[in-house]
């Protein structure tokens, strides 16, 4: 048998876990996953106007993007919305996590779970349509067309992302700590303020970062909810794609990528399971 011959090399242990071809496919996957992104980043440094022909290294597109007032405004808007949404989402998610974790099951807990995770379940386009209809009528009724709509929408779909790391952190916390605090005469509020909150902080920060990243990346809901002239960076880019593309879009993408990467790295450091890294 071919298989027997292949293993016939002396001293070569029969590898139980190996499946033929799997490593090759995995390597292809990793290459395919990164090749387009790397190409995109490389061409953001193209001196020429094209994203196909390489005309030498330059960072001029970054300056062009920076000096573009539309991009400036969109970037600022993105940051404002993401910051506000992350702050709101992580605050309400923290409260909800405290209510739903480390407590005996109570009537309605499943309903709260479902509610919190609802944005993960409903297709984004459906939520986008729903918010378009809902906010359109409010806009008509109140006349208010500010960033508030976008912030509420973003905060809402960020809640489950903020909730998950906070809940994970709470679940891994020793539940006797509050009891110990209470035993040492702390009121429930003091126990929360002095014990729970400091221990929970890394989870909250991690949750806020995830929420920030998610808000920063959003296209669909923003595209539907935004009023005229309220482009964020992603919707600005989506609009640009219809025109002739210059490496400016690559430059903006690269900047966003770097920001995401930094936030994610911090997130992983914060949520790293210390038991998994004994040294």
């Amino acid at each position: 048998m071919a298989e027997a011959n292949r293993a016939a090399k002396k001293g070569k242990t029969f590898s139980v876990k190996t499946m033929p071809g799997f490593t090759t496919v995995a390597m292809i996957c990793f290459i395919v996953l990164y090749a387009p992104i790397v190409t995109l980043v490389i061409y953001s440094f193209n001196a020429g106007n094209s994203i196909a022909f390489w005309e030498g290294f330059s960072i001029r597109w970054y300056f062009i993007a920076l000096e573009n007032t539309v991009v400036q405004e969109a970037a600022l808007r993105s940051l404002i919305i993401a910051t506000a949404a992350a702050a709101i989402a992580s605050t309400v998610a923290t409260m909800a996590a405290i209510a739903t974790t480390r407590t005996r099951p109570f009537r309605g807990r499943t309903a709260i779970y479902l509610m919190i995770n609802q944005p993960l379940m409903v297709p984004e386009i459906v939520t986008a349509v729903a918010l378009l209809i809902f906010f359109a009528s409010i806009k008509v009724a109140t006349g208010y067309t500010g960033l508030g709509y976008l912030i509420i929408a973003h905060a809402a779909f960020c809640v489950p992302f903020a909730y998950l790391p906070i809940r994970a952190r709470l679940e891994s916390m020793d539940s006797t700590l509050e009891a110990a605090a209470a035993d040492l005469y702390a009121t429930p509020w003091q126990a929360f303020r002095r014990i729970t909150l400091p221990l929970l902080a890394p989870g909250i920060i991690a949750g806020a970062m995830l929420a920030f990243v998610i808000s920063l990346d959003d296209v669909i809901i923003t595209e539907f909810v935004k009023s005229a002239g309220q482009d964020t960076l992603p919707t600005y880019m989506l609009g640009q794609l219809r025109r002739a593309i210059t490496p400016e879009v690559n430059a903006i993408s690269t900047a966003l990528l770097v920001l995401t990467l930094v936030l994610l790295s911090v997130f992983f450091v914060l949520t790293r399971d210390r038991r998994a890294n004994p040294d």
């Binding site: 090749a35 309400v92 998610a93 309605g108 509610m115 379940m121 409903v122 297709p123 386009i125 809402a156």
Partner: protein
């Protein structure tokens, strides 16, 4: 206020009071999140449902007259001249494309994602974290940017065509962008991590000692894979497939960027009703239809997840 569920009949009044307080506290703490989600996510879905039973307004919006017209129009059209009822071919072809591309996306991501997840799960503990991180980075990276990256690679002036012409494989660029193939490629690319992660979770829990038992009992590699690995990680396969299928079905950005206006999927078709189409009730009905399909898929997902737990 609802008292806590309990089967113990002789519950002391003090204990009951503490329970009630606890439940009230939990609800109060959850209230801000609930309100936010009611306004910013769940509540408006109800309005969509209502809109799907109304008549379209002249320039978008609705007229408050109840009708099943929108739901009817999803599948049928009435001939303007002889008023005969026909299947709405244009709509059906969009649905068909959505389902077809979503299934194909699921298949492709599985074909590539399974070996990848298996590869990661069979690394040493230290290496695993690094490989997983490599999968998670694209997962959290802006979907638009990733789609855009694919677009740059496959457009006529993109790197693939440029290189192919340079090396003389072809004379004129191959039109890849704005085809179904491009949409498929893009969706497989952006949703691959969604397949790999649950598969990894499942394979990582797999007891590899069972493989030794399989080989010991005369199974070859294929039989070990087919008869032992696949059945035992099937909950992960179901989970991954649904996690890819659901967003594929509702995809909007990828078909818009890579399919252009031509290769529409349900998501784009819904948007069209709120834009140029000016038919909000039809858009609302389509949204509800999509929601129903997704809900059914998610029910399977929940069952797969609980199946996973009972295996462990």
């Amino acid at each position: 206020m609802a008292a806590a569920d309990t089967n113990t009949p002789a519950i002391s009044s003090h204990e009951a009071r503490v329970n009630t307080q606890r439940v009230r506290r939990n609800w109060l703490l959850s209230l801000p999140a609930i309100c936010l989600l009611l306004i910013g996510a769940s509540g408006p879905l109800l309005i969509v449902l209502i809109y799907s039973f109304l008549e379209p307004g002249d320039y978008g919006g609705v007229t408050w007259k109840p009708t099943l017209d929108a739901w009817f129009k999803i599948f049928f059209r009435v001939d303007i001249f002889d008023e005969t009822v026909h299947l709405a071919d244009a709509h059906l072809s969009i649905f068909w494309r959505s389902v077809k591309l979503s299934l194909l996306t699921t298949l492709i991501t599985f074909a590539f994602g399974f070996p990848t997840a298996y590869f990661i799960a069979t690394r040493s503990k230290r290496q695993r974290a690094a490989w997983l991180f490599l999968i998670t980075i694209p997962f959290w990276t802006n979907l638009l940017i990733r789609t855009f990256a694919i677009m740059e690679v496959i457009r006529n002036e993109g790197i693939v065509n440029t290189l192919a012409i340079k090396f003389g494989f072809i004379d004129t660029p191959i039109q890849m962008l704005y085809t179904e193939g491009a949409v498929l490629l893009g969706m497989a690319y952006v949703y691959l991590p969604l397949m790999v992660l649950p598969l990894y979770a499942s394979i990582e829990r797999f007891d590899f000692r069972l493989l030794e038992a399989g080989y010991d009992l005369y199974a070859n590699r294929w039989q070990v894979f087919r008869r032992i690995v696949l059945p035992l990680v099937s909950p992960g396969i179901v989970a991954g497939s649904i996690l890819v299928f659901v967003p594929s079905l509702g995809a909007y950005v990828t078909p818009r960027v890579l399919g252009g206006g031509r290769k529409m999927m349900i998501g784009n078709f819904i948007e069209l009703q709120f834009g140029q189409g000016q038919n909000w009730p039809l858009g609302a009905a389509l949204s509800m239809l999509l929601l129903i399909v997704v809900a059914v898929a998610l029910l399977f997902y929940v069952r797969a997840i609980s199946g996973e737990r009972s295996h462990g």
